[in-house]
Amino acid sequence: SQQGEEDPQALSIQEGENATMNCSYKTSINNLQWYRQNSGRGLVHLILIRSNEREKHSGRLRVTLDTSKKSSSLLITASRAADTASYFCAAITYKYIFGTGTRLKVLA
C-alpha cells in the first residue's frame, strides 16, 4: 500500500485557530515534503524537511519529523479562510509517495 498516510482525513476549524495534520510512512526516507491542493488545481509544494532534520519553519508553517516513529506533522498557525485546501505529505525515497490527504476547512 502507499506510504504517506495523513490524518485526520478532514479537519474543520475557525479562522485564527491552529491546524495540525499528521502523516505516517512505512520505510526509510530521504526527505519528506508537504503539498497543498486547492479544489480543481494541482498540488503546490509547501515545505521540505530532510531526514536528518527534526523541525522546520516557513512563515506560518511548522513541520516536524520523527524518523524513529516514521511520522511527520504540519502545523498551520493563525489559520485563514484562504488556507482551506487539501494537504498531502510525500515520503521521498527513490520515488515520491503521496497519501490520501487531509481536507482542511477554515471557517471565517
Partner: protein, 114 residues
Amino acid sequence: EAGVTQFPSHSVIEKGQTVTLRCDPISGHDNLYWYRRVMGKEIKFLLHFVKESKQDESGMPNNRFLAERTGGTYSTLKVQPAELEDSGVYFCASSQVQANSPLHFGNGTRLTVT
C-alpha cells in the same frame, strides 16, 4: 515561467473508447511524473520519465495504459480501451534533475468513463 500544463482539463468517454492525455512540463525539467487520484483515495504513482526514458513504470496498472515522452519534452498518456475503473484525476508533475527537487504539478485531467 510557465507552469505544467495538462490537456484536456476534462474528458468524458464511454467504456471501450480511447483517450489520450497530454502534459507539457516546465521547460528544462528532465523529470516528468504521472499520478492518478481516484475519488477520496491516495494520489497514486503511475510512472516517471527522465528525459525520454522511462525510469520507473511500476505504477502503471496494466497494458491498457501507454505513456510516451518523445524527444524528452511533452508527454502523453493513452488509455486504450478505457474501463470504468480508469475514472479519476490524472496529474502530471515535473521537476529539475536534482534529487528530491519539489514537484511542480499541472491542474490535472479529470477523466470520466461511463
